[in-house]
């Protein structure tokens, strides 16, 4: 338990030294699957609290305008698909990262959001429309920071060169689209076959 706490607290060091951080996460036992999973949950909670606590001026509908399921689909699920796509592409292009390493590093890359989403939401309560640009700039900085971390994640975990990294990221994004398309198709086929089986047996047994 104490070890898990230390692993989660490591995010603070990670934010200041991300390149060393990715190395230590993998080889010095600074992160684990358990701590990464906790971070994903914390990220989701931070996201929900941001929606609820951001000033009315910037987000009038708060959580009323959405649902937990919908937010799961639009925030956490893309991260998990990214992890899968990242690993699958890296297998082909000779990346060094294991699935475990990709999962842990992706979760740690979300730490700017965990730290700063809520403070920004609280500070936004002092702003009016006149200061909207400050609010949007702060949000932009955090999101851009995470994008940089995701770039470094691909580079450091798999040991790519800069050019390789960019090409691989494009492939990973393509793989994400492919996975989503495949999942939707599979979902549709399963529903169709279940419907078919149900109606077939109904007719066979004479219920109609």
């Amino acid at each position: 338990m104490r070890r898990l706490g230390e692993q989660i607290a490591y995010t603070w060091t990670f934010l200041r030294h991300p390149i060393d951080g990715f190395y230590d996460l993998r080889f010095s036992g600074k992160g684990s699957v358990a701590s990464a999973s906790v971070l994903l949950v914390l990220f989701f909670i931070a996201h929900l609290l941001r929606l609820e606590w951001t000033h009315f001026v910037f987000n009038p509908y708060r959580l009323l305008g959405t649902s937990v399921g919908r937010e799961l689909l639009t925030t956490l699920l893309p991260v998990l698909i990214w992890v899968l796509a990242n690993y699958l592409v890296s297998c082909i292009t000779k990346g060094q990262g294991t699935f475990r390493a990709v999962y842990i590093s992706a979760a740690y890359s979300l730490s700017p959001a965990i730290y700063f989403y809520i403070p920004i939401a609280i500070v936004s309560n002092l702003f009016t429309n006149a200061e909207a640009s400050i609010y949007y700039f702060l949000t932009f900085v955090v999101n851009a920071w995470m994008l940089v971390l995701f770039y470094l994640q691909v580079k450091e975990v798999h040991g790519y060169e800069i050019g390789e990294t960019i090409v691989n990221i494009l492939w990973m994004l393509f793989a994400m689209v492919a996975i989503i398309a495949f999942a939707i198709a599979l979902f549709a086929i399963v529903i169709q076959s279940v419907n078919f089986a149900v109606s077939f047996f109904r007719e066979a047994l004479g219920y109609v």
């Binding site: 009315f56 001026v57 910037f58 009038p60 509908y61 002092l126 009016t128 429309n129 006149a130």
Partner: protein
Amino acid sequence: MQLRKWLLLMMVAVVVIGFSHTGTASASAPYRSYGYFKEQTFPVQSLYVPERVIGDQFYAVQNGSQESLPGLNGPTDLFIDNEDHIYVSDTNNNRVVKMNDRGQLLLELGTGADERSKLKAPEGIYVSSNGNIYVADTGNNRIAVFNRDGMWIDEILKPGSMMLQEVTFMPSRVSVDLRGFLYIAAKGVNEGLIVISPDKEFAGFFGSNKVELSALDRIKNLFYTEEQKRTAIGGAASVSDLFIDSEGFVYTTTIGARSEQIKKYNVGGENMFSGENMRLARNSALAGTYTGITVDRNGNIFALDAGAGQVFQFDPNGEPVFSFGDKLVDNKLRMGLFGDPVSIKVNSRGYLYVTDKMFNAVQVFRPTEFMTKVNQAEELFNSGNYEEAMRKSQDVLKSNVFYYKAHFIIGKALYMDTKWAESMERFELVFDTAGYSDAFWELRIHWVRNHFYLVISILLAAAAVYYVGNKVIRRRRGHHA
């Protein structure tokens, strides 16, 4: 927050109990009425009730005896002048009639002996503030102008412009703007409204409808010859009605479009409802077929959806507010229901007039007490009488808590009265971020002014903590090294 809970509670109460309310109201109106707020639809009490049907028959008193005259036959456009007199283009009778709000015939145009004054299937009508009557004389390919006594005075034919060479000039609606320019919707003209200057010269097209191409049409476009394209690919949707309000905004309705069925052009010719799908009705495949449009003194837009058989009221920003009406059942005429409605206008007292080709008459709808209060509150607000507007709005809310505009008016009035925190509550209720932001700005600056010394002390304290903290950390690091 308190207010929000109260509102939610009231909403539940109205949904549970309130249906008895709408039930009694619908006894006088054979249709339901709805309110709209932020993409939500809810039933409301009656807004307009059918008052009477006029123009189905006329009487003239001649030599002391009453004589029956033919009533309207295929009425199309409608106009109401400053004195609340009603003009109807009586298409199938080749005339225009002027009547009072009781349906008494005052004037008949186009039936005189003068050849030049004869009308042929006129479809559009406009009356200028000096009483001149402009008739879109569709069958005679011209705009005929009569004076207030019904004497023919002028006509406007197709201007000799290159742009109009291939057009047969069949005007179906006409309106005149503040400068005296004519705006004409003509049949088969897809380039937009034809604008004609006061000296009868062609002044250009106004607000064209885009050609909507489907993906298949685009592919066809690549391979088809010019000949095939002309027959296979549909053209732009056509303008069905046109209205110019007292501030110079031009409103049009368009049939057969998937979006921008209603447009509001500013003086620069820019559509303020650009990209919006203005179709709200879902009861019929033909819903969204707006054939008539008009605007009241407060800038509220009334649009007649002939496909759905409903009248929609939009606020000046194009947000839907109310709707009412329904179609005839089995084509059996019943006052208050729509058969084949064409045009809609509103008079100075807020009464709505709708021409109907199936009734061959004009139906009159009277605003209910609720609707009258709503209009009064808006008028008071627009004229800057915020306190009275607030009182009226509170009155409105007593009969309908859903009516968001009342909350908005109260919020603005409280803001003007420097009650910022209270006005913020109202703006929060109706999700108005702009109003809320303004009120919060005032609240914040007054708080800072009133707590100036506190603010300064907090800033100084924060600076001190930062300075001392930095020193301590630096010293500790020194120890470790």
